[in-house]
C-alpha cells in the first residue's frame, strides 16, 4: 500500500489532524477513485458489523465449568461449587438464592484430581454434586420407573476430549451420563467390570463410575456403589 492509500486508511480511521482531514475532504470531491474507495470501505465495514452476534447461551457456563475443573486440579483448589453445577444443568431456578459456595473434597483421603485422567476427573467433578439417593434407593430388580432428564446437556472439553454431559433422574437417584467419541481413560484405581469386555468401574468416595466403551465411550457417574452401577446404567438411555 502506497503512502496515498495509507493516508486514506488513516483518514477513514479518523486519525488525521484537522488540516490533513480537510485536505482529504477536498480531495474526495475531485477524485472519483478515492471516493469509490471510501464508499467501499464504509460498505465493507457496515457489512462486517452485521456479523456481530452475542455468544451462544451456555458458553459462559461451559467456560466457567472448564476453569473450575482446571482450578480444582491444582494442588490448592479441590472445590467445585454446587451452585455452578446446578446452573450448568439448566436448573437455575432451583439455584436461585443459593449464594453459599459449598466446598467439596474431590476424592477421599485428600487425593487430588491430578492422579486422574483429565476427562474422567472432569466428569467426576461434574457429578460430585449429584444428590444422594433420597427415599427410594437406586433401582431395584423389577423397578419400572422411566428415567427423566434433568436440565440440559452440557458440553466440555477435558484432556483434549469432547464430552457431552447429561443428568438423569431415576426414582430417588440422579446419575450423570458422559458421552465422548474417544474412550475415557481407565483410572489406576479402576477394575474391569465383570462380563463387560472393555468396560471398567471405579469408586471415588461416594461416587461410583462405570464406563462402557463401544462406538462411543459412555461414563456413568452416580453416588451409588460402583458395583451397582451396571444395573443402574441398564435403565438409562445409553446408546
Amino acid at each position: 500500500m502506497d503512502s496515498h492509500h495509507r493516508l486514506l486508511a488513516a483518514f477513514l480511521a479518523g486519525e488525521l489532524n484537522p488540516a490533513e482531514a480537510r485536505r482529504w475532504d477536498q480531495h474526495l470531491l475531485e477524485c472519483e477513485q478515492c471516493w469509490r474507495a471510501v464508499r467501499e470501505d464504509r460498505a465493507g465495514r457496515q457489512a462486517a458489523q452485521a456479523l456481530r452476534q452475542p455468544a451462544p447461551p451456555g458458553l459462559a457456563d461451559r467456560v466457567a465449568f472448564a476453569v473450575e475443573v482446571a482450578a480444582s486440579a491444582r494442588p490448592s483448589g479441590r472445590r467445585l461449587t454446587v451452585r455452578l453445577r446446578w446452573l450448568l444443568a439448566g436448573a437455575g431456578s432451583l439455584a436461585v438464592g443459593v449464594v453459599a459456595t459449598l466446598a467439596i473434597v474431590l476424592l477421599p483421603g485428600g487425593r487430588s484430581a491430578e492422579s486422574m485422567p483429565a476427562a474422567v476427573a472432569a466428569v467426576a467433578h461434574y457429578a460430585q454434586t449429584v444428590r444422594e439417593p433420597a427415599g427410594e434407593p437406586y433401582p431395584q430388580p423389577g423397578w419400572r420407573a422411566a428415567p427423566v432428564e434433568v436440565g440440559r446437556p452440557v458440553m466440555v472439553t477435558a484432556g483434549g476430549q469432547r464430552i457431552v454431559l447429561r443428568t438423569w433422574r431415576l426414582g430417588g437417584t440422579e446419575a450423570v451420563v458422559a458421552v465422548s467419541g474417544q474412550s475415557f481413560p481407565m483410572p489406576a484405581s479402576a477394575v474391569g467390570a465383570a462380563g463387560g469386555g472393555m468396560a471398567w468401574s471405579a469408586q471415588l468416595g461416594r461416587l461410583g463410575l462405570y464406563c462402557i466403551n463401544g462406538r462411543t465411550s459412555e461414563l456413568v457417574a452416580a453416588p451409588v456403589p460402583a458395583a451397582e452401577l451396571a444395573a443402574l446404567a441398564a435403565r438409562l438411555p445409553l446408546t
Binding site: 469509490r36 467501499e40 465493507g44 465495514r45 457496515q46 451462544p56 472448564a66 491444582r74 483448589g77
Partner: protein, 183 residues
C-alpha cells in the same frame, strides 16, 4: 497474584465480561473443522493458566491475542497452513459466483448496503486473506480498536489500518459481485 493458587472466581469475574468479544474473534479465527466454542474454552483455559503473569491493562486485547495463538496452535496441530486461504478454490464452492474480475461495478457500496445478508457476508469474509479477515473480525465485528488489534496481532497499528481498509473494500466487492450474480 499467584498463578497456581490464583482464585478462579476472580479470574472469571475479570474475563467473562469479554466473552462476547472473544466469541467474535473465535468465530473468525477458527480453522475449518474447529469449533469456535472449543476455541473460546481453550482461550479461557490458557488465560487462566497465565493469569498470574498478566500485567497489562487491557484484558480484552490480551484475551484476543491468546485466542489467535490458540487458533494458530490448533492449525499447526492439524498440519495446516493457517495464514493462507485458498481463496479462489473456496470461491468456486460458493453458491454465489464472482462477477467479472475487472473493475468493480460503479455502485458497489449501494449494492452491498441494499442487500446485506449475514450468511453471504460470512462466506465472503471467509474468502479474504487471513490477515485482512482477522483485522476485520477484530475491529468491525468484535469492536476492538486499531491499537488493541495491533497488540493482539503483534503488528504495527498502521498495518492493521491498511489491512482492514483493503479487506473492507474486497469484502464489499465480493458482496456486490454476489448480488450481481443473483440478479
Amino acid at each position: 497474584m499467584d498463578a497456581v493458587g490464583g482464585d478462579h472466581r476472580e479470574f472469571l469475574d475479570a474475563t467473562l465480561p469479554y466473552l462476547d468479544a472473544v466469541w467474535q474473534v473465535a468465530r473468525h479465527a477458527a480453522m475449518d473443522g474447529q469449533d469456535p466454542e472449543d476455541l473460546v474454552q481453550e482461550t479461557y483455559l490458557r488465560a487462566y493458566a497465565a493469569f498470574g503473569s498478566f500485567r497489562g491493562a487491557n484484558m480484552r486485547g490480551w484475551l484476543a491475542a491468546i485466542c489467535l495463538n490458540a487458533a494458530r496452535s490448533e492449525a499447526r496441530r492439524r498440519r495446516r497452513r493457517p495464514w493462507e486461504m485458498p481463496a479462489q478454490a473456496r470461491l468456486d464452492t460458493l453458491s454465489v459466483a464472482r462477477a467479472d474480475a475487472g473493475e468493480p461495478a460503479p455502485d458497489v457500496a449501494d449494492a452491498v448496503i441494499a442487500g446485506l445478508d449475514a450468511d453471504a457476508v460470512s462466506r465472503c469474509l471467509a474468502l479474504l486473506p487471513e490477515p485482512q479477515r482477522l483485522c476485520i473480525a477484530l475491529m468491525d465485528v468484535a469492536g476492538y480498536t486499531a491499537r488493541e488489534a495491533a497488540e493482539a496481532l503483534g503488528c504495527p497499528r498502521g498495518t492493521v489500518l491498511a489491512r482492514v481498509h483493503r479487506g473492507r473494500r474486497r469484502l464489499a466487492q465480493l458482496l456486490a459481485a454476489a448480488g450481481v450474480a443473483h440478479g
